[in-house]
Symmetry: C2
Subunit: 207 residues, 2 copies
């Protein structure tokens, strides 16, 4: 049994979808950001970073989406969620996910989480104004150079797909024009139609 | 043969050290940031992100440090640079490296690269003032909760070690007090004494 600590509308959805894709047995524990539960002593004992996601496994606790996604793929190899026996293809997949966590998600975070990197409200406003450009540049690079189609890495669905889908939920609110990235938008649409994705989203709403 | 595109004093040193550790056959190509070579058409054809590192392999080009480090570890398994056959231990290692790329390195980047996320010089100055706190918090978490010793992941040296060592070059300039993180500093000292690390650094100076 795996236990996923999640919050709705956050990047934890990527790992949640991957758990469904893997056919894993899992339970969900919601972390209520409205009550700042991520900073509660109980949650800090799970994840001292005070963020979601975190996943309790029989071997211990994991954090960081790229690591969790690979763990899910490796633990459920029959689901074929990553090319785990091809070092180069696996590295390309990891490169994509690393770009999402360290560049795209970070650019997005400057819209609401400027306090992580500055103190002055004027700086937060400046950061917010820049988000359409910085996040937009990430999506344009994904659209033109990184996304292969029909899935992120090409013919095979992988753990990069729920990760991109999850972050792509936020692009309109970030001020990115969907018409500039039609392949990303088409991918998001096709992902949203997948029963596994619908199941994961429904669980987060009803939990 | 692997070709590493690097720039001195950047995170590309981590992959460079790992190549030496792996016993890989490699060549170096310097990207001169002083001449903004990272934005030249020639380099953008290698890496459209206009960043280092990038690595040309017989299968294609890789970018993003966490992905490249794992590729090196998987391609040279005799060097035992990652627990590639233990999904949980591998995920813990990946989680550490993911934290470095998406949180620690990002916090550091706000000292010199504020233009990625804002436009106003006043915002850049605000970001710079915050760096000792934001980067310091990352190191204190690494020191108290993540670093195991004697190596990052415990008894075995892994690809997390050159990565932490590389980023830790910058902590004094980021305004982090070394006395608050004695284990990180001791690790940096022991890494600096390793012949493979000395070799990599010497190659970057003399290239």
């Amino acid at each position: 049994m795996l236990t996923l600590y999640y919050a709705a509308h956050t990047c934890s959805l990527a790992s949640h979808i991957a758990l469904v894709d893997a056919g894993a047995k899992y339970e969900l524990k919601r972390v209520d950001f409205g009550k700042t539960e991520q900073r509660s002593p109980a949650y800090l004992s799970v994840n001292p970073k005070a963020r979601v996601p975190a996943m309790v496994t029989p071997c211990g606790i994991l954090t960081e989406t790229p690591a969790m996604l690979v763990f899910i793929a490796q633990s459920f190899p029959k689901a074929r969620l990553a090319p785990i026996n091809d070092p180069f293809a696996f590295a390309e997949l990891q490169s994509f996910n690393s770009y999402l966590c360290s560049t795209l998600h970070v650019a997005h975070a400057h819209r609401m989480r400027g306090h992580r990197w500055a103190d002055d409200p004027a700086s937060f406003a400046d950061m917010q104004r820049k988000v359409p450009q910085s996040v937009g540049a990430c999506y344009e690079l994904i659209e033109s150079r990184m996304f292969r189609g029909p899935w992120v890495m090409g013919d095979s669905y992988t753990i990069a797909d729920p990760y991109l889908f999850t972050l792509a939920q936020w692009l309109e609110d970030d001020g990115v024009k969907p018409t500039r990235i039609p392949r990303v938008i088409d991918h998001r649409f096709r992902m949203a139609e997948r029963p596994n994705v619908k199941k994961a989203i429904a669980e987060e709403i009803t939990e």
